[in-house]
Amino acid sequence: MKLVINKLSFHYNGFPALKDVELEVSLGEVLSIVGPNGSGKTTLLKCINRILKPKHNTVLIDGKDTGEIGLRELSKMMGYVPQNSTSTFPFTVFDIVLMGRRPYIHWSLSERDKEIVAEILRFLGIDKLAMRHFDELSGGEQQKVIIARALAQQPQILLLDEPTSNLDIKHQLEILCILRGLAQSKHCSVIVAMHDLNLASRFSDRMLILKQGRIFAVGTPESVLTEENIESVYGVKSQVTNSVLDRPQVTPLGSVANGVENSKIASEITSKHK
Protein backbone atom coordinates (compact mmCIF):
# COMPACT_ATOMS: atom_id res chain seq x y z
CA MET A 1 0.00 0.00 0.00
CA LYS A 2 1.49 3.29 -1.07
CA LEU A 3 0.57 6.66 0.36
CA VAL A 4 1.02 9.67 -1.88
CA ILE A 5 0.43 13.24 -0.77
CA ASN A 6 0.02 15.62 -3.63
CA LYS A 7 0.03 19.44 -3.28
CA LEU A 8 -1.73 19.28 0.07
CA SER A 9 -2.75 22.62 1.56
CA PHE A 10 -5.07 23.20 4.48
CA HIS A 11 -6.58 26.28 6.14
CA TYR A 12 -8.26 26.65 9.52
CA ASN A 13 -10.87 29.36 8.87
CA GLY A 14 -8.54 31.14 6.49
CA PHE A 15 -5.47 30.65 8.65
CA PRO A 16 -3.06 28.57 6.57
CA ALA A 17 -1.72 25.49 8.37
CA LEU A 18 -0.25 23.44 5.52
CA LYS A 19 1.08 24.64 2.19
CA ASP A 20 1.89 22.47 -0.83
CA VAL A 21 3.00 19.38 1.04
CA GLU A 22 4.25 16.65 -1.31
CA LEU A 23 5.29 13.28 0.01
CA GLU A 24 5.42 9.58 -0.78
CA VAL A 25 5.51 6.92 1.90
CA SER A 26 6.17 3.31 1.02
CA LEU A 27 5.38 0.07 2.80
CA GLY A 28 7.40 -0.93 5.85
CA GLU A 29 8.85 2.53 6.38
CA VAL A 30 9.06 4.56 9.58
CA LEU A 31 8.74 8.26 8.77
CA SER A 32 8.94 10.81 11.54
CA ILE A 33 7.56 14.32 11.25
CA VAL A 34 9.37 16.94 13.30
CA GLY A 35 9.12 20.70 13.50
CA PRO A 36 8.38 23.48 15.99
CA ASN A 37 5.05 23.79 17.78
CA GLY A 38 2.38 24.94 15.35
CA SER A 39 4.34 23.90 12.27
CA GLY A 40 1.50 21.63 11.12
CA LYS A 41 2.53 18.14 12.29
CA THR A 42 -0.82 17.22 13.81
CA THR A 43 -2.71 18.89 10.97
CA LEU A 44 -0.79 16.81 8.45
CA LEU A 45 -1.63 13.57 10.29
CA LYS A 46 -5.29 14.54 10.53
CA CYS A 47 -5.43 15.43 6.83
CA ILE A 48 -3.96 12.06 5.91
CA ASN A 49 -6.60 10.35 8.02
CA ARG A 50 -9.43 12.63 6.84
CA ILE A 51 -10.27 13.70 10.37
CA LEU A 52 -9.76 17.04 8.67
CA LYS A 53 -11.04 17.30 5.13
CA PRO A 54 -8.45 18.58 2.65
CA LYS A 55 -9.22 19.15 -1.06
CA HIS A 56 -9.85 16.17 -3.29
CA ASN A 57 -6.97 14.27 -4.88
CA THR A 58 -4.44 15.55 -2.37
CA VAL A 59 -4.10 12.34 -0.33
CA LEU A 60 -4.03 9.11 -2.33
CA ILE A 61 -3.69 5.47 -1.33
CA ASP A 62 -2.56 3.21 -4.15
CA GLY A 63 -3.62 5.94 -6.56
CA LYS A 64 -7.10 6.22 -5.05
CA ASP A 65 -8.32 9.51 -3.58
CA THR A 66 -9.00 9.08 0.15
CA GLY A 67 -11.92 11.49 -0.19
CA GLU A 68 -13.65 8.88 -2.36
CA ILE A 69 -13.07 6.05 0.10
CA GLY A 70 -15.72 5.79 2.82
CA LEU A 71 -14.80 6.42 6.46
CA ARG A 72 -15.29 2.78 7.30
CA GLU A 73 -13.14 1.45 4.45
CA LEU A 74 -10.49 4.03 5.26
CA SER A 75 -10.42 2.88 8.88
CA LYS A 76 -9.43 -0.59 7.70
CA MET A 77 -6.40 0.92 5.95
CA MET A 78 -5.26 3.49 8.52
CA GLY A 79 -5.02 3.58 12.27
CA TYR A 80 -4.64 6.79 14.26
CA VAL A 81 -3.20 7.28 17.75
CA PRO A 82 -3.92 10.79 19.07
CA GLN A 83 -1.78 12.89 21.39
CA ASN A 84 -3.99 12.40 24.42
CA SER A 85 -6.28 9.48 24.95
CA THR A 86 -9.05 9.35 27.47
CA SER A 87 -12.20 7.35 27.81
CA THR A 88 -15.32 9.07 29.11
CA PHE A 89 -16.78 5.88 30.53
CA PRO A 90 -14.88 3.00 32.17
CA PHE A 91 -13.92 0.21 29.79
CA THR A 92 -11.60 -2.74 30.22
CA VAL A 93 -8.44 -2.96 28.13
CA PHE A 94 -9.93 -5.85 26.15
CA ASP A 95 -13.07 -3.82 25.40
CA ILE A 96 -11.06 -0.84 24.20
CA VAL A 97 -8.88 -2.89 21.88
CA LEU A 98 -12.02 -4.63 20.65
CA MET A 99 -13.34 -1.23 19.52
CA GLY A 100 -10.64 -1.30 16.85
CA ARG A 101 -12.60 -4.17 15.28
CA ARG A 102 -15.60 -1.86 14.77
CA PRO A 103 -15.01 -1.47 11.00
CA TYR A 104 -15.28 -5.23 10.58
CA ILE A 105 -18.26 -6.04 12.77
CA HIS A 106 -21.92 -5.18 12.55
CA TRP A 107 -23.32 -6.54 15.75
CA SER A 108 -21.92 -9.83 16.98
CA LEU A 109 -18.27 -10.67 17.41
CA SER A 110 -16.64 -13.53 15.60
CA GLU A 111 -14.07 -15.83 17.19
CA ARG A 112 -11.61 -14.28 14.76
CA ASP A 113 -12.18 -10.79 16.22
CA LYS A 114 -11.41 -12.01 19.72
CA GLU A 115 -8.38 -13.93 18.49
CA ILE A 116 -6.98 -10.86 16.76
CA VAL A 117 -7.42 -8.81 19.93
CA ALA A 118 -5.78 -11.49 22.09
CA GLU A 119 -2.89 -11.78 19.64
CA ILE A 120 -2.28 -8.02 19.58
CA LEU A 121 -2.41 -7.81 23.38
CA ARG A 122 0.28 -10.47 23.55
CA PHE A 123 2.34 -8.86 20.80
CA LEU A 124 2.44 -5.64 22.83
CA GLY A 125 3.02 -7.48 26.09
CA ILE A 126 -0.15 -6.19 27.75
CA ASP A 127 -2.12 -9.44 27.86
CA LYS A 128 -1.87 -9.42 31.66
CA LEU A 129 -3.81 -6.13 31.71
CA ALA A 130 -6.64 -7.39 29.50
CA MET A 131 -9.36 -7.29 32.17
CA ARG A 132 -8.09 -4.19 33.99
CA HIS A 133 -9.81 -0.86 33.56
CA PHE A 134 -8.17 1.53 31.14
CA ASP A 135 -8.24 4.51 33.50
CA GLU A 136 -6.40 2.57 36.22
CA LEU A 137 -3.32 2.09 34.03
CA SER A 138 -0.14 4.16 33.91
CA GLY A 139 0.53 6.51 31.01
CA GLY A 140 2.87 4.06 29.31
CA GLU A 141 0.43 1.20 29.60
CA GLN A 142 -2.42 3.37 28.33
CA GLN A 143 -0.38 4.36 25.30
CA LYS A 144 0.22 0.70 24.47
CA VAL A 145 -3.52 -0.02 24.79
CA ILE A 146 -4.32 2.80 22.38
CA ILE A 147 -1.72 1.53 19.92
CA ALA A 148 -3.20 -1.95 20.32
CA ARG A 149 -6.63 -0.50 19.53
CA ALA A 150 -5.28 1.05 16.33
CA LEU A 151 -3.58 -2.25 15.39
CA ALA A 152 -6.85 -4.14 15.85
CA GLN A 153 -8.06 -2.22 12.79
CA GLN A 154 -5.34 -4.16 10.91
CA PRO A 155 -4.16 -1.02 9.18
CA GLN A 156 -1.32 -0.82 6.71
CA ILE A 157 -0.65 2.77 7.59
CA LEU A 158 -0.30 3.75 11.24
CA LEU A 159 -0.37 7.43 12.21
CA LEU A 160 0.80 8.49 15.66
CA ASP A 161 0.80 11.96 17.18
CA GLU A 162 3.62 12.36 19.71
CA PRO A 163 3.21 8.87 21.13
CA THR A 164 6.12 9.23 23.53
CA SER A 165 5.85 12.80 24.81
CA ASN A 166 4.39 11.87 28.22
CA LEU A 167 6.42 8.73 28.85
CA ASP A 168 9.56 7.87 30.79
CA ILE A 169 12.63 6.78 28.83
CA LYS A 170 11.96 3.09 29.26
CA HIS A 171 8.46 3.36 27.84
CA GLN A 172 9.68 5.73 25.12
CA LEU A 173 12.13 3.11 23.92
CA GLU A 174 9.60 0.29 24.25
CA ILE A 175 6.95 2.09 22.22
CA LEU A 176 9.39 3.09 19.49
CA CYS A 177 10.85 -0.43 19.31
CA ILE A 178 7.30 -1.74 18.91
CA LEU A 179 6.71 0.71 16.04
CA ARG A 180 9.99 -0.30 14.36
CA GLY A 181 9.04 -3.95 14.77
CA LEU A 182 5.61 -3.30 13.26
CA ALA A 183 7.09 -1.65 10.21
CA GLN A 184 9.47 -4.54 9.68
CA SER A 185 7.40 -7.59 10.62
CA LYS A 186 3.94 -6.51 9.49
CA HIS A 187 5.00 -4.24 6.65
CA CYS A 188 3.09 -1.38 8.13
CA SER A 189 4.00 2.18 7.16
CA VAL A 190 4.45 4.12 10.38
CA ILE A 191 4.14 7.90 10.31
CA VAL A 192 4.87 9.50 13.63
CA ALA A 193 4.90 13.14 14.70
CA MET A 194 7.56 13.79 17.35
CA HIS A 195 9.36 16.50 19.25
CA ASP A 196 12.42 14.56 20.38
CA LEU A 197 14.90 14.90 17.51
CA ASN A 198 17.29 12.28 18.89
CA LEU A 199 14.61 9.62 19.32
CA ALA A 200 13.31 10.43 15.85
CA SER A 201 16.79 10.15 14.41
CA ARG A 202 17.35 6.82 16.11
CA PHE A 203 14.13 5.11 15.06
CA SER A 204 13.17 6.53 11.66
CA ASP A 205 14.11 5.51 8.16
CA ARG A 206 13.30 9.00 6.98
CA MET A 207 12.59 12.29 8.68
CA LEU A 208 10.50 15.20 7.55
CA ILE A 209 10.95 18.71 8.93
CA LEU A 210 7.94 21.01 8.75
CA LYS A 211 8.33 24.75 9.02
CA GLN A 212 5.24 26.97 9.01
CA GLY A 213 3.21 24.38 7.15
CA ARG A 214 5.78 23.69 4.45
CA ILE A 215 8.18 20.80 4.06
CA PHE A 216 11.58 22.24 4.91
CA ALA A 217 13.58 19.06 4.42
CA VAL A 218 12.90 15.38 3.98
CA GLY A 219 15.29 12.46 3.79
CA THR A 220 17.48 10.21 5.92
CA PRO A 221 18.21 11.44 9.44
CA GLU A 222 21.83 12.09 8.38
CA SER A 223 20.78 14.35 5.54
CA VAL A 224 18.06 16.20 7.43
CA LEU A 225 19.50 16.74 10.88
CA THR A 226 22.17 19.31 10.20
CA GLU A 227 23.17 22.25 12.37
CA GLU A 228 22.06 24.69 9.64
CA ASN A 229 18.61 23.09 9.29
CA ILE A 230 18.02 23.11 13.02
CA GLU A 231 19.05 26.73 13.32
CA SER A 232 16.81 27.91 10.52
CA VAL A 233 13.79 25.85 11.58
CA TYR A 234 13.93 26.11 15.36
CA GLY A 235 16.16 29.17 15.76
CA VAL A 236 18.41 27.15 18.00
CA LYS A 237 22.17 26.76 17.77
CA SER A 238 23.18 23.17 18.12
CA GLN A 239 25.90 20.69 17.62
CA VAL A 240 25.21 17.53 15.65
CA THR A 241 27.46 14.60 16.42
CA ASN A 242 27.42 10.94 15.61
CA SER A 243 25.92 8.92 18.45
CA VAL A 244 27.19 5.55 19.69
CA LEU A 245 24.35 4.02 17.67
CA ASP A 246 25.77 5.64 14.53
CA ARG A 247 22.89 8.06 14.14
CA PRO A 248 23.07 11.85 14.18
CA GLN A 249 22.62 13.23 17.67
CA VAL A 250 21.54 16.80 18.32
CA THR A 251 22.78 18.76 21.32
CA PRO A 252 20.94 22.08 21.51
CA LEU A 253 23.19 24.89 22.70
CA GLY A 254 21.09 28.04 22.84
CA SER A 255 18.39 30.06 21.23
CA VAL A 256 19.49 32.44 18.50
CA ALA A 257 16.74 34.92 19.28
CA ASN A 258 17.88 35.47 22.86
CA GLY A 259 21.08 37.01 21.59
CA VAL A 260 24.28 37.58 23.47
CA GLU A 261 23.43 35.84 26.73
CA ASN A 262 22.62 32.53 25.11
CA SER A 263 25.34 32.58 22.52
CA LYS A 264 27.84 33.29 25.30
CA ILE A 265 26.69 30.21 27.17
CA ALA A 266 26.77 28.30 23.93
CA SER A 267 30.31 29.24 23.10
CA GLU A 268 31.42 28.42 26.62
CA ILE A 269 29.90 24.98 26.38
CA THR A 270 31.35 24.28 22.96
CA SER A 271 34.80 25.53 23.90
CA LYS A 272 34.85 23.26 26.94
CA HIS A 273 34.26 20.24 24.80
CA LYS A 274 36.76 21.04 22.06
Binding site: K46, N49, R50, I51, G70, L71, R72, E73, L74, S75, K76, M78, G79, Y80, P82, S85, T86, S87, T88, F89, P90, F91, T92, F94, D95, I96, M99, G100, R102, P103, I105, W107, E111, K114, E115, V117, A118, E119, L121, R122, D127, K128, A130, M131, H133, D135, E136, R149, A150, Q153
Partner: protein, 358 residues
Amino acid sequence: MSTASELKRLYLKGKNRKILAILSIFLVLLIIIVISVSLGAGSPRFNEAIQVILSKLFPFLGFDPGPQITQTIIFEIRLPRVVLAVIAGAGLAASGVAMQGVLKNPLVSPYILGISSGAGFGAALAIALGIGVVTQYGGYIVVANAFVFSILAMLMVYGIARLRGVTPESVILAGVAVGYLFSAMLSLIQFIAPEHAAVRAVVFWLLGGLSTATWESILIVLPIVLVAMALIMRHSWDMNVMSLGEEVAMSIGVNSKQVIVMCMALATLVTASIVSFTGVIGFICLVSPHISRMMIGSDHRFLLPCSIVLGACLLLCADTLARLVLMPSEVPVGIVTALIGVPFFLYLLLSRRRQFWH
Protein backbone atom coordinates in the same frame (compact mmCIF):
# COMPACT_ATOMS: atom_id res chain seq x y z
CA MET B 1 2.12 -15.12 29.45
CA SER B 2 -1.53 -15.96 29.05
CA THR B 3 -2.57 -17.71 25.90
CA ALA B 4 -5.12 -16.43 23.43
CA SER B 5 -7.66 -19.04 24.47
CA GLU B 6 -7.26 -18.02 28.10
CA LEU B 7 -7.94 -14.39 27.21
CA LYS B 8 -10.97 -15.41 25.22
CA ARG B 9 -12.20 -17.48 28.15
CA LEU B 10 -11.81 -14.50 30.51
CA TYR B 11 -13.72 -12.30 28.10
CA LEU B 12 -16.50 -14.88 27.78
CA LYS B 13 -16.72 -15.14 31.56
CA GLY B 14 -17.23 -11.39 31.86
CA LYS B 15 -19.82 -11.43 29.10
CA ASN B 16 -21.79 -14.27 30.71
CA ARG B 17 -21.75 -12.44 34.02
CA LYS B 18 -23.33 -9.40 32.33
CA ILE B 19 -26.00 -11.47 30.61
CA LEU B 20 -26.78 -13.19 33.90
CA ALA B 21 -27.18 -9.80 35.61
CA ILE B 22 -29.60 -8.63 32.92
CA LEU B 23 -31.64 -11.83 33.15
CA SER B 24 -31.81 -11.58 36.94
CA ILE B 25 -33.14 -8.05 36.80
CA PHE B 26 -35.65 -9.18 34.20
CA LEU B 27 -36.80 -11.93 36.55
CA VAL B 28 -37.15 -9.39 39.37
CA LEU B 29 -39.21 -7.22 37.01
CA LEU B 30 -41.63 -10.09 36.35
CA ILE B 31 -42.03 -10.65 40.08
CA ILE B 32 -42.66 -6.96 40.74
CA ILE B 33 -45.25 -6.91 37.95
CA VAL B 34 -47.20 -9.72 39.60
CA ILE B 35 -46.96 -8.15 43.03
CA SER B 36 -47.93 -4.73 41.74
CA VAL B 37 -51.01 -6.04 39.91
CA SER B 38 -52.23 -7.75 43.03
CA LEU B 39 -51.86 -4.76 45.35
CA GLY B 40 -54.00 -1.67 45.63
CA ALA B 41 -57.36 -0.17 46.37
CA GLY B 42 -60.33 -2.40 45.65
CA SER B 43 -61.15 -5.92 46.55
CA PRO B 44 -58.94 -8.34 44.59
CA ARG B 45 -56.33 -9.93 46.81
CA PHE B 46 -53.10 -11.52 45.76
CA ASN B 47 -54.33 -15.03 44.85
CA GLU B 48 -57.47 -13.68 43.22
CA ALA B 49 -55.42 -11.40 41.01
CA ILE B 50 -53.11 -14.24 39.98
CA GLN B 51 -56.11 -16.40 39.16
CA VAL B 52 -57.71 -13.77 36.99
CA ILE B 53 -54.55 -13.20 35.02
CA LEU B 54 -53.86 -16.90 34.58
CA SER B 55 -57.40 -17.53 33.44
CA LYS B 56 -57.05 -14.86 30.76
CA LEU B 57 -53.56 -15.91 29.69
CA PHE B 58 -54.19 -19.65 29.63
CA PRO B 59 -57.95 -20.18 29.29
CA PHE B 60 -57.44 -23.92 28.67
CA LEU B 61 -56.11 -24.44 32.20
CA GLY B 62 -59.57 -23.85 33.60
CA PHE B 63 -58.83 -21.25 36.31
CA ASP B 64 -61.87 -19.52 37.67
CA PRO B 65 -61.86 -15.94 36.30
CA GLY B 66 -63.81 -14.74 39.34
CA PRO B 67 -66.49 -12.02 39.49
CA GLN B 68 -66.78 -9.33 36.80
CA ILE B 69 -65.75 -6.54 39.17
CA THR B 70 -62.44 -8.25 39.93
CA GLN B 71 -61.74 -8.69 36.22
CA THR B 72 -62.51 -5.05 35.53
CA ILE B 73 -60.25 -3.81 38.33
CA ILE B 74 -57.37 -6.00 37.15
CA PHE B 75 -57.65 -5.49 33.40
CA GLU B 76 -58.98 -1.96 33.10
CA ILE B 77 -57.37 -0.24 36.07
CA ARG B 78 -54.32 -1.97 37.43
CA LEU B 79 -52.83 -3.76 34.44
CA PRO B 80 -52.75 -0.79 32.02
CA ARG B 81 -51.07 1.25 34.70
CA VAL B 82 -48.47 -1.44 35.41
CA VAL B 83 -47.79 -1.97 31.70
CA LEU B 84 -47.43 1.76 31.09
CA ALA B 85 -45.03 2.03 34.03
CA VAL B 86 -42.90 -0.77 32.55
CA ILE B 87 -42.87 0.78 29.07
CA ALA B 88 -42.21 4.28 30.38
CA GLY B 89 -39.43 3.16 32.71
CA ALA B 90 -37.80 1.13 29.95
CA GLY B 91 -38.06 3.88 27.36
CA LEU B 92 -36.85 6.66 29.66
CA ALA B 93 -33.88 4.55 30.74
CA ALA B 94 -32.96 3.75 27.13
CA SER B 95 -33.11 7.40 26.13
CA GLY B 96 -30.98 8.27 29.16
CA VAL B 97 -28.28 5.81 28.06
CA ALA B 98 -28.39 7.12 24.50
CA MET B 99 -28.13 10.78 25.51
CA GLN B 100 -25.35 10.20 28.03
CA GLY B 101 -23.57 7.94 25.56
CA VAL B 102 -23.50 10.19 22.52
CA LEU B 103 -22.99 13.41 24.48
CA LYS B 104 -20.31 11.69 26.58
CA ASN B 105 -21.67 13.31 29.69
CA PRO B 106 -22.96 11.41 32.72
CA LEU B 107 -25.14 14.31 33.88
CA VAL B 108 -27.28 14.64 30.79
CA SER B 109 -31.00 13.91 30.94
CA PRO B 110 -34.14 15.24 29.24
CA TYR B 111 -34.35 17.75 32.13
CA ILE B 112 -31.05 19.29 31.13
CA LEU B 113 -31.77 19.27 27.41
CA GLY B 114 -35.04 21.16 27.45
CA ILE B 115 -37.25 18.28 26.31
CA SER B 116 -39.21 18.14 29.55
CA SER B 117 -39.49 21.93 29.78
CA GLY B 118 -40.92 21.91 26.27
CA ALA B 119 -43.42 19.24 27.24
CA GLY B 120 -44.33 21.15 30.41
CA PHE B 121 -44.90 24.36 28.49
CA GLY B 122 -47.06 22.58 25.90
CA ALA B 123 -49.15 20.90 28.55
CA ALA B 124 -49.59 24.12 30.50
CA LEU B 125 -50.75 25.93 27.36
CA ALA B 126 -53.52 23.40 26.99
CA ILE B 127 -54.43 23.01 30.65
CA ALA B 128 -54.35 26.62 31.81
CA LEU B 129 -55.15 28.58 28.67
CA GLY B 130 -56.95 25.98 26.57
CA ILE B 131 -54.65 26.53 23.60
CA GLY B 132 -53.97 23.31 21.74
CA VAL B 133 -52.27 22.20 18.55
CA VAL B 134 -55.19 19.84 18.04
CA THR B 135 -58.70 20.66 19.13
CA GLN B 136 -60.83 17.79 17.85
CA TYR B 137 -59.65 14.94 20.04
CA GLY B 138 -60.82 15.99 23.49
CA GLY B 139 -58.61 14.06 25.87
CA TYR B 140 -55.55 14.31 23.69
CA ILE B 141 -55.17 18.08 23.67
CA VAL B 142 -52.70 18.03 26.53
CA VAL B 143 -50.87 14.97 25.21
CA ALA B 144 -50.53 16.36 21.70
CA ASN B 145 -49.39 19.74 23.02
CA ALA B 146 -46.76 18.23 25.29
CA PHE B 147 -45.49 16.02 22.48
CA VAL B 148 -45.32 18.75 19.86
CA PHE B 149 -43.61 21.25 22.14
CA SER B 150 -41.00 18.79 23.43
CA ILE B 151 -40.11 17.89 19.84
CA LEU B 152 -40.06 21.60 19.04
CA ALA B 153 -37.67 22.20 21.94
CA MET B 154 -35.30 19.56 20.62
CA LEU B 155 -35.47 20.96 17.09
CA MET B 156 -34.51 24.34 18.51
CA VAL B 157 -31.62 22.74 20.38
CA TYR B 158 -30.46 21.07 17.19
CA GLY B 159 -30.84 24.24 15.15
CA ILE B 160 -28.78 26.27 17.63
CA ALA B 161 -26.15 23.54 18.06
CA ARG B 162 -25.72 23.28 14.31
CA LEU B 163 -24.67 26.91 14.09
CA ARG B 164 -21.32 26.05 15.61
CA GLY B 165 -21.05 22.39 14.66
CA VAL B 166 -22.86 19.52 16.33
CA THR B 167 -20.61 18.62 19.24
CA PRO B 168 -21.58 17.35 22.69
CA GLU B 169 -20.73 20.77 24.17
CA SER B 170 -22.84 22.76 21.72
CA VAL B 171 -25.83 20.41 22.11
CA ILE B 172 -25.69 20.57 25.91
CA LEU B 173 -25.31 24.37 26.01
CA ALA B 174 -28.12 24.84 23.51
CA GLY B 175 -30.24 22.39 25.53
CA VAL B 176 -29.72 24.31 28.75
CA ALA B 177 -30.61 27.60 27.04
CA VAL B 178 -33.76 26.25 25.38
CA GLY B 179 -34.73 24.56 28.66
CA TYR B 180 -34.54 27.89 30.50
CA LEU B 181 -36.55 29.60 27.79
CA PHE B 182 -39.40 27.10 28.04
CA SER B 183 -39.32 27.08 31.85
CA ALA B 184 -39.64 30.84 31.81
CA MET B 185 -42.60 30.68 29.45
CA LEU B 186 -44.14 27.96 31.61
CA SER B 187 -43.82 30.19 34.67
CA LEU B 188 -45.38 33.01 32.71
CA ILE B 189 -48.41 30.88 31.90
CA GLN B 190 -48.81 29.94 35.56
CA PHE B 191 -48.46 33.62 36.48
CA ILE B 192 -51.13 34.88 34.08
CA ALA B 193 -53.45 31.86 34.28
CA PRO B 194 -57.00 33.07 34.92
CA GLU B 195 -57.97 30.41 37.48
CA HIS B 196 -56.25 29.14 40.56
CA ALA B 197 -57.43 25.60 39.85
CA ALA B 198 -55.74 25.66 36.46
CA VAL B 199 -52.39 26.48 38.05
CA ARG B 200 -52.84 23.60 40.44
CA ALA B 201 -53.65 21.28 37.55
CA VAL B 202 -50.48 22.36 35.74
CA VAL B 203 -48.36 21.70 38.82
CA PHE B 204 -49.98 18.31 39.21
CA TRP B 205 -49.23 17.44 35.57
CA LEU B 206 -45.63 18.56 35.96
CA LEU B 207 -45.10 16.22 38.90
CA GLY B 208 -45.89 13.30 36.68
CA GLY B 209 -48.09 10.31 37.23
CA LEU B 210 -49.42 7.18 35.63
CA SER B 211 -52.98 7.32 36.92
CA THR B 212 -54.40 8.18 33.51
CA ALA B 213 -52.99 5.02 31.89
CA THR B 214 -55.30 3.29 29.45
CA TRP B 215 -54.81 0.53 26.90
CA GLU B 216 -55.29 3.18 24.24
CA SER B 217 -52.35 5.24 25.46
CA ILE B 218 -50.25 2.06 25.65
CA LEU B 219 -51.08 1.26 22.03
CA ILE B 220 -49.75 4.66 21.02
CA VAL B 221 -46.60 4.68 23.17
CA LEU B 222 -45.51 1.05 22.84
CA PRO B 223 -44.71 0.92 19.10
CA ILE B 224 -42.79 4.21 19.23
CA VAL B 225 -40.75 3.07 22.22
CA LEU B 226 -40.03 -0.40 20.82
CA VAL B 227 -38.91 0.79 17.41
CA ALA B 228 -36.80 3.64 18.79
CA MET B 229 -35.15 1.37 21.37
CA ALA B 230 -34.24 -1.14 18.67
CA LEU B 231 -32.72 1.61 16.54
CA ILE B 232 -30.78 2.97 19.52
CA MET B 233 -29.47 -0.56 20.21
CA ARG B 234 -28.06 -0.66 16.67
CA HIS B 235 -25.75 2.21 17.62
CA SER B 236 -24.24 0.39 20.62
CA TRP B 237 -20.85 -0.08 19.02
CA ASP B 238 -20.79 3.50 17.79
CA MET B 239 -21.49 4.80 21.29
CA ASN B 240 -18.69 2.63 22.67
CA VAL B 241 -16.23 3.98 20.14
CA MET B 242 -17.36 7.57 20.69
CA SER B 243 -16.31 7.45 24.31
CA LEU B 244 -12.72 7.57 23.00
CA GLY B 245 -13.36 11.00 21.50
CA GLU B 246 -14.66 12.35 18.20
CA GLU B 247 -11.38 12.14 16.30
CA VAL B 248 -10.57 8.60 17.34
CA ALA B 249 -14.14 7.55 16.58
CA MET B 250 -13.72 9.00 13.12
CA SER B 251 -10.45 7.09 12.63
CA ILE B 252 -12.36 3.90 13.49
CA GLY B 253 -14.91 4.76 10.82
CA VAL B 254 -17.66 6.26 13.00
CA ASN B 255 -19.10 9.64 12.09
CA SER B 256 -19.84 11.09 15.54
CA LYS B 257 -21.99 13.94 14.28
CA GLN B 258 -24.35 11.59 12.47
CA VAL B 259 -24.61 9.30 15.49
CA ILE B 260 -25.27 12.26 17.81
CA VAL B 261 -28.09 13.57 15.62
CA MET B 262 -29.61 10.11 15.07
CA CYS B 263 -29.51 9.00 18.70
CA MET B 264 -30.67 12.36 20.06
CA ALA B 265 -33.63 12.27 17.65
CA LEU B 266 -34.56 8.75 18.75
CA ALA B 267 -34.12 9.52 22.45
CA THR B 268 -36.22 12.67 22.08
CA LEU B 269 -38.98 10.76 20.31
CA VAL B 270 -39.09 8.16 23.07
CA THR B 271 -39.00 10.69 25.90
CA ALA B 272 -41.54 12.99 24.27
CA SER B 273 -44.03 10.21 23.61
CA ILE B 274 -43.77 8.94 27.18
CA VAL B 275 -43.67 12.27 28.97
CA SER B 276 -46.67 13.61 27.09
CA PHE B 277 -48.78 10.83 28.62
CA THR B 278 -47.21 10.62 32.06
CA GLY B 279 -45.99 14.13 32.82
CA VAL B 280 -42.40 14.86 33.67
CA ILE B 281 -40.70 11.80 35.13
CA GLY B 282 -37.04 12.58 34.65
CA PHE B 283 -35.09 10.84 37.34
CA ILE B 284 -35.19 7.37 35.74
CA CYS B 285 -33.32 8.70 32.69
CA LEU B 286 -30.48 9.89 34.85
CA VAL B 287 -30.19 7.21 37.44
CA SER B 288 -30.93 3.98 35.63
CA PRO B 289 -27.93 4.22 33.26
CA HIS B 290 -25.66 5.03 36.20
CA ILE B 291 -26.74 2.09 38.34
CA SER B 292 -26.42 -0.19 35.31
CA ARG B 293 -22.94 1.12 34.56
CA MET B 294 -21.89 0.39 38.13
CA MET B 295 -23.27 -3.12 37.82
CA ILE B 296 -22.09 -4.28 34.40
CA GLY B 297 -19.75 -1.64 32.96
CA SER B 298 -20.00 0.69 30.00
CA ASP B 299 -20.24 -1.60 26.97
CA HIS B 300 -23.45 -0.29 25.41
CA ARG B 301 -24.32 -3.69 23.96
CA PHE B 302 -25.05 -4.79 27.53
CA LEU B 303 -25.58 -1.44 29.20
CA LEU B 304 -28.68 -0.64 27.12
CA PRO B 305 -30.68 -3.82 27.86
CA CYS B 306 -29.59 -3.71 31.48
CA SER B 307 -30.66 -0.11 31.89
CA ILE B 308 -33.95 -0.82 30.11
CA VAL B 309 -35.03 -3.63 32.46
CA LEU B 310 -33.74 -1.73 35.48
CA GLY B 311 -35.60 1.43 34.45
CA ALA B 312 -38.81 -0.59 34.13
CA CYS B 313 -38.23 -2.06 37.61
CA LEU B 314 -37.52 1.31 39.21
CA LEU B 315 -40.51 3.13 37.75
CA LEU B 316 -42.87 0.25 38.48
CA CYS B 317 -41.67 0.09 42.11
CA ALA B 318 -42.00 3.84 42.48
CA ASP B 319 -45.47 3.90 40.95
CA THR B 320 -46.66 0.99 43.07
CA LEU B 321 -45.50 2.80 46.19
CA ALA B 322 -47.06 6.02 44.91
CA ARG B 323 -50.41 4.20 44.71
CA LEU B 324 -50.12 2.50 48.08
CA VAL B 325 -48.51 4.73 50.71
CA LEU B 326 -51.31 7.25 51.14
CA MET B 327 -54.16 5.06 49.94
CA PRO B 328 -56.80 6.01 48.84
CA SER B 329 -55.08 9.19 47.65
CA GLU B 330 -51.87 9.15 45.64
CA VAL B 331 -48.39 10.62 45.87
CA PRO B 332 -47.09 11.93 42.51
CA VAL B 333 -44.68 9.34 41.15
CA GLY B 334 -41.99 11.93 40.40
CA ILE B 335 -41.70 12.58 44.13
CA VAL B 336 -41.46 8.88 44.93
CA THR B 337 -38.79 8.14 42.30
CA ALA B 338 -36.64 10.85 43.81
CA LEU B 339 -37.34 9.86 47.43
CA ILE B 340 -36.41 6.21 46.96
CA GLY B 341 -34.06 6.67 44.03
CA VAL B 342 -31.73 9.20 45.59
CA PRO B 343 -30.77 7.21 48.71
CA PHE B 344 -30.39 4.02 46.65
CA PHE B 345 -28.26 5.82 44.11
CA LEU B 346 -26.09 7.45 46.77
CA TYR B 347 -25.64 4.12 48.51
CA LEU B 348 -24.36 2.52 45.31
CA LEU B 349 -22.19 5.48 44.52
CA LEU B 350 -20.51 5.54 47.91
CA SER B 351 -20.24 1.79 48.46
CA ARG B 352 -18.44 1.25 45.16
CA ARG B 353 -14.70 1.73 45.08
CA ARG B 354 -14.53 2.84 41.49
CA GLN B 355 -16.53 5.62 39.97
CA PHE B 356 -16.03 6.86 36.56
CA TRP B 357 -15.64 10.55 37.19
CA HIS B 358 -12.43 10.44 39.18
